[in-house]
């Protein structure tokens, strides 16, 4: 009896495991694992190797050494930067969470007025490069900006607000992320089970009590997971640290890595050791995030029926809530847009005055339209981001199907496809740079290198879209196709891909939008002939050509807003009508 049980316990699962690997499904899993491994493992390997070896004068690898790590940890500068990064990331997270979260709740669950403004703000911010926002706020909050200008006119001395400081960075980064927080949290507020709140109201609870005791407690794990996610992204942030922090002599971990690569010759060993430290920190945080978000899923109480939860009636407070929506619109869209328009139509950088209206000029726009380089810049950016979005989606469609349906090798596929999350953009930039420098053919400074880096970096996002898309397809739709006679590849091609196409299109647009904004990796990898829009804007800023930067940025943001609108409406529609019931 016990012998029989043992045989059952050992023999059969092994047999079944072999069955899972045989046939076309097994080959599909194996080739997917191989492709993913070739993409995501080399960056990690090369970082580790360079951080542990001497770099010879000709760029080849020398003897093994721990010198880079020893130097890194011996320098007190590391600890200053780490502390700055920590303060920066946590405070900015708090700002965007409070601001974006409150806004999401007001818009989704109350009867506040002016809601369309919040959506408009979010859509435009999805497509606008961060660097453009940052420059706009730098102008607004800077020495010549309207706030400090007004302060001086009122007789104040010095600066009301020095934007080139840690606090300036925190405020800007917080505003930068609040639209995304708004987007993600509003989705979960929309899906929340209103009956739980209605039950509390029926039991006699006030709106405040209901929100405090029921809504917030239920949403807490989701909020915590989101906070951790935003914190990680803030830790990896590059745009604000380099544009605001570097002039203000506030160094963060990411800017330190960047500066090490800008030395002549570049301190690649140092940058790699630094990068490995960041990979470890981000990796640990991601593991924590995985735990928190799993418990968030357990808590999620999603309504099965398609009805919209009834909004809370805020009474007179609804006008205050509407005021907050207006404030968000002004801070995230209205003021930056006005500032950019002002700068782009001004002959030189100057304070905003009525008198200045008479000397407005189109010269910045004519400059943008007359330099053919700008056109090829736009072409480059569209080409690179479209190619990498397509590649990432193609790979992750198959990967997500294997992982979500727990076919052979599903775990390995899942791990490999989401591994690039541990690379902050600047770190992956360093790794890709080192790979390119060693490649036997000229790779550094080409568009292919950029596309490859983007593909690796954004695969986890494609995976996220495709994976949850597969989970939404009723399993029986695939099983019916199998019983009807279709093989695994037939099921994938004829059933899964067509049903997944809305999710895949959303994923593609998302990758395309964030790829077009990417600065941190692109700034390391772009050569003279392969610049992208964000890199070009960065150069314009560094060169002090704020007028042209604003003109170019506004035109680009206009184009990207078209894509962002498509993404936004697609995402809303597909969440409303999920296929396959």
């Amino acid at each position: 009896m016990s012998e029989g049980l043992q045989r059952r316990a050992q023999g059969v699962p092994l047999g079944r495991r072999l069955l899972r690997w045989s046939g076309p499904t097994g080959w599909l899993s194996l080739s997917t694992i191989a492709i993913l491994a070739v993409l995501v493992l080399p960056p990690l390997a090369v970082l580790l190797q360079v951080s542990l070896t001497e770099t010879n004068a000709d760029g080849s690898a020398g003897a093994l050494t721990l010198r880079h790590y020893a130097q890194l940890f011996a320098d007190t500068h590391l600890y200053t930067s780490a502390a700055n990064s920590l303060i920066f990331a946590s405070c900015a997270t708090l700002v965007s969470l409070l601001f974006g979260g409150t806004l999401a709740w007001i818009v989704e669950r109350t009867n506040a007025p002016l809601k369309p403004l919040a959506y408009l703000t979010t859509i435009v911010s999805l497509g606008t490069p961060y660097i453009l926002y940052v420059t706009a706020w730098l102008f607004l909050l800077g020495r010549t900006g309207p706030f400090n200008d007004a302060w001086r006119n009122l007789g104040g001395t010095g600066l009301l607000f020095d934007v080139y400081s840690l606090w300036g960075m925190i405020v800007i980064e917080g505003f930068l992320w609040s639209p995304l927080v708004f987007l993600l949290l509003s989705a979960s507020f929309r899906a929340a089970n209103a009956e739980m709140e209605e039950a509390a109201r029926m039991s006699g609870a006030s709106i405040f009590d209901t929100v405090w005791r029921i809504s917030l407690r239920l949403a807490w794990p989701a909020i915590l997971a989101m906070a951790l996610f935003v914190f990680i992204r803030n830790l990896e942030a590059f745009d604000v640290p380099v544009l605001v922090g570097t002039p203000g002599r506030v160094t963060l971990l990411t800017t330190d890595i960047y500066l090490a690569t800008r030395e002549v010759p570049p301190l690649l060993g140092h940058a790699s050791a630094f990068s490995m430290v960041m990979v470890v920190i981000v990796g640990v945080l991601l593991m924590l995030y995985g735990r928190v978000s799993r418990s968030a899923e357990r808590y999620a109480s999603v309504t099965g029926k398609g009805f919209r939860p009834r909004p809370f009636d805020l009474g007179r407070a609804r006008w205050a809530a509407g005021g907050l929506i207006l404030l968000n619109f002004m801070l995230v869209l209205g003021l930056p847009l006005t500032a950019l328009l002002w700068v782009s139509f001004s002959p030189f950088l100057r304070p905003m005055r009525w008198a200045g209206l008479r000397t407005l000029t189109l010269k910045n726009y004519t400059a943008v339209f007359n330099v053919p380089e700008y056109l090829s810049l736009a072409g480059n950016t569209l080409l690179v981001t479209a190619a990498s979005a397509t590649a990432a989606i193609l790979i992750t469609t198959v990967a997500a199907w294997i992982a979500a349906r727990r076919r052979g090798g599903g775990m390995a596929v899942d791990q490999l496809a989401t591994l690039p999350l541990v690379f902050p953009g600047i770190v992956l930039g360093v790794a890709m740079m080192e790979i390119a420098l060693r490649a036997p053919f000229p790779l550094y400074g080409t568009l292919s290198l950029l596309a490859l880096g983007f593909t690796i970096r954004y695969m986890p996002y494609g995976m996220r879209y495709a994976y949850s898309g597969v989970l939404q397809i009723h399993r029986e739709l695939e099983e019916a196709a199998g019983v009807a006679g279709a093989g695994p590849l037939g099921v994938l091609r004829r059933i899964v891909v067509p049903l997944l196409s809305p999710a895949l299109l959303s994923g593609w647009l998302f990758i395309f939008l964030i790829g077009a904004k990417e600065l941190s990796m692109a700034v390391l990898l772009a050569g003279p002939g392969s610049q992208t829009m964000a890199v070009a804007m960065f150069d314009l800023w560094v060169n002090g050509q704020g007028g042209e930067l604003s003109a170019l940025g506004l035109l680009w943001a206009l184009l990207m807003t078209v894509f962002a609108s498509a993404f936004y409406f697609l995402a809303r529609r597909s969440s409303a009508a999920a296929y396959g019931r």
Binding site: L19, E479, A480, A481, G482, V483, A486, G487, G490, L499
Partner: protein, 374 residues
């Protein structure tokens, strides 16, 4: 034609707490054209059995063959992939692909068939025949998302039979329909099965569906078949207390065999309160065996107290405890000793609560069954 043979089929699921559902050691043989129903409560393993036959699950043990063709054999390591088995299946959710028209849904099995190539005309002809069979002629170009529940069900059925499979599997196909439609589809499904004459396995937890439609029924509990037979036997000759209770409502009272009984005979059973019931013994029992006595509520006839029992009938004495009027019948709860027995009578018999009554039941409807759940 060929028999479907399922031998010693086992498939156990485990979770962190240990075994969690599945089937153990299930065997049956179906002759061609049989309408066979797997009946049992949810989680009993009936769907696992069906999915193992379809090839959607790989069993741990056993053998499944249709005629000469072996689908699965753990001993020799044979496992024909599901798409090579040529089985028609209707899923609980119907699984109508929303991105295809009705025509494309039904044509799918023909388009992906590996064994045979169908040309355009053949596909058109076969799809039309299948749609006509389920009375959906003219729906070819309708989008699959614009179908009612009943229509989706018919499309699923047409898709399942379009390739003239040798086996048709139906996984609770009526459970998502509303009550009135369910009655219609039940008749329709049975007619259709007789018309094409395909061996059919039907999974349900609804006993009236099973009794109405099946040639044979297997009642499953805890992963095992506890009784297999024709509907009348399942209902009137339950093999154990579980079947008696699950298939239709029944009154179960415990007793002791007074004198040894052979299979098919009527023998006396001592009840705890001293009364004696004459019961039909479907299986032999020895003196002093503990048994359960099953009496269907509709088999009980209520009379005023002291009415003598007719020959070949038992009489129990009780007091009406509860009454209920259901329109087509009256439902009574009657206290007999410590127990409450349920009786369904025609709407014309009327007794008020608290009245003493006699309960009469023929010996043939007083069934002695082995006590305890197998």
């Amino acid at each position: 034609m060929e028999n479907l043979v399922v031998q010693n089929l086992s498939k156990l699921f485990r979770n962190a707490e240990g075994p969690a559902g599945g089937v153990r050691d299930t065997s049956f043989v179906l002759e061609p054209g049989t309408f066979f129903t797997l009946l049992g409560p949810s989680g009993c393993g009936k769907t696992t059995t069906l999915r193992s036959i379809a090839g959607l699950e790989a069993p741990d043990h056993g053998r499944i063959a249709l005629g000469e063709r072996v689908f699965f054999d753990a001993a020799s390591g044979v496992n024909v992939p599901l798409n090579r088995r040529n089985i028609g299946m209707v899923f609980q959710s119907y699984a109508i692909w929303p991105h295809m028209t009705v025509f494309e849904n039904v044509a799918f099995p023909l388009r992906v068939a590996k064994s045979e190539r169908y040309d355009r005309d053949a596909i058109k002809r076969m799809v039309d025949v299948a749609l006509d069979t389920v009375s959906l002629g003219g729906f070819q170009d309708r989008s699959a998302t614009r179908l009612s529940g009943g229509q989706q069900q018919r499309v699923a059925l047409a898709r399942a039979i379009v390739r003239q499979p040798r086996l048709l599997l139906l996984d609770e196909p009526l459970s998502n329909l509303d009550a009135a439609l369910r009655e219609d589809m039940r008749v329709e499904l049975k007619r259709l099965q007789q018309q094409i004459g395909v061996t059919t396995i039907y999974v349900t937890h609804d006993q009236s569906e099973a009794l109405d439609m099946s040639d044979r029924i297997a009642v499953i509990n805890g992963g095992r078949i506890v009784q297999m037979g024709v509907p009348r036997d399942i209902y009137f000759r339950p093999a154990n207390a579980f079947v008696a209770g699950f298939v239709g409502a029944t009154n179960l009272v415990r007793g002791t065999v007074a004198a040894a009984a052979s299979a098919g005979s009527v023998a006396a059973v001592d009840m705890p309160d001293g009364q004696v019931l004459h019961c039909l013994f479907p299986t032999a029992a020895a003196r002093s065996d503990r048994i359960a006595v099953s009496i269907r509520p509709e088999c009980l006839v209520l009379t005023p107290a002291e009415t003598p029992a007719a020959p070949g009938s038992n009489r129990l004495d009780g007091v009406v405890a509860t009454t209920g009027f259901l329109g087509n019948m009256n439902r009574y709860g009657i206290r007999v000793g410590d127990a409450v027995m349920h009786a369904n009578t025609g709407p014309e018999t009327q007794f008020a609560a608290g009245v003493a009554v006699g309960l009469h039941v023929t010996h043939a409807n007083t069934i002695a069954i082995p006590d305890g759940v197998p």
